[in-house]
Symmetry: C2
Subunit: 216 residues, 2 copies
């Protein structure tokens, strides 16, 4: 792993693996779980079936790798985007914009096919449920970091969770039509709500938050 | 329609229709769109294939009727539940609780199968997209009514929309595991936020709301 230049075969193997994973995401989005077999994925990736099965024995293994890949890609892109943002209070709207647009692409479509299939398939569910929980926790952790909030304040954790649940709901709403305009208005409003409900970035620890219970 | 007691045949026909629709919802949730044919639905409903096709020529027609049925059922249940709630400010939490639990049952699972299938099937999408928009508008209208809010205030419309999008995201999160405990905490938090951000029920028209823009 440490000297890829000296190991072209290992490098090639990584490329093959990555192409299989990307083909799996595309297949899932287009044909759903029932139409996604190792053979179909291999063909799409331009890889022999034998080579594909050398990397992944079953489609469950391949899909596990795909979900991990998508999750890691997402976190990487979030971090890159966040690195270009200004610091301070003005971060909230661009961060919310980024988070609420997280599930509007082809990767979410692929994941949705998987979730729906897993809801009726015990074996797939047992693979997917813990994986999805882990990817979800990671998305949550990065969101907390990007919003610059402190989860020890009451209600903050739930607001970050609600932001990601809302993002997935908006992903659903975008499935059958282009929902970008309506979503943009919700982004603006949600950023306002979070700006009021969450402690300002940087002041999370020292300043009491106005999110504490309004009723006893 | 007005004298069902005198028209047992018409009554029987309605019962058959309803059984077919209910069987369609069950089939979709269990086998997805690809496994849901008029023949499979008819068998499940205990109706001959000929009788089924007398009511619905294609599975698209049957599924259209199913989506309309599910939407109407939902609105009816929302109204019934809301009718039993106390009036005044204390309505917000039970209404939010009801709305955020709206998509956690088998009907949402069935709808999800359809949406996902429609995202890769032009013919199904052209049937489903306008229908889904109509059912969504109706859910929105009832939510506005139950929350007792006034959409002419800036941001209120988006807050109600966000509540329903959040509800669908929570439905997704509930697909692979029982997410009820986490959801209950989000319900409490979201009710607090809405209680602060939305004008109180009954005062929507006369009182200015604190949801107006915090920034220019």
């Amino acid at each position: 792993m440490s000297t890829p230049a000296r190991e072209p075969q290992q490098e090639r193997s990584r490329t093959t693996r990555r192409r299989l994973i990307e083909a799996a995401v595309e297949c899932l989005g287009e044909h759903g779980w029932s139409g996604t077999t190792v053979a179909v994925i291999a063909q799409r990736a331009g890889v022999s079936r034998g080579a594909a099965q050398h990397h992944f024995r079953t489609r469950e293994e391949l899909v596990t790798a795909a979900v991990e890949y998508v999750g890691a890609e997402q976190v990487t892109r979030l971090r890159e985007y966040a690195g270009r943002l200004p610091s301070g209070e003005s971060r909230i709207e661009p961060v919310v914009d980024m988070l609420l647009n997280l599930y509007t692409g082809p990767m979410f479509r692929a994941a949705l096919h998987l979730w729906v299939a897993a809801s009726a398939d015990e074996a797939l569910r047992s693979v997917l449920a813990p994986l999805e929980a882990r990817v979800g926790r990671e998305a949550h952790r990065v969101s907390v970091e990007l919003l610059g909030v402190n989860e020890s304040h009451p209600g903050v954790r739930e607001m970050v969770q609600a932001t990601l649940d809302l993002a997935r709901g908006l992903g659903l709403a975008n499935l059958l039509r282009d929902d970008a305009r309506r979503r943009a208005r919700i982004v603006r409003q949600w950023a306002r709500v979070l700006g009021t409900a969450l402690p300002e970035p940087g002041s999370a620890i020292t300043r009491p938050t106005d999110i504490t219970m309004p009723t006893p």
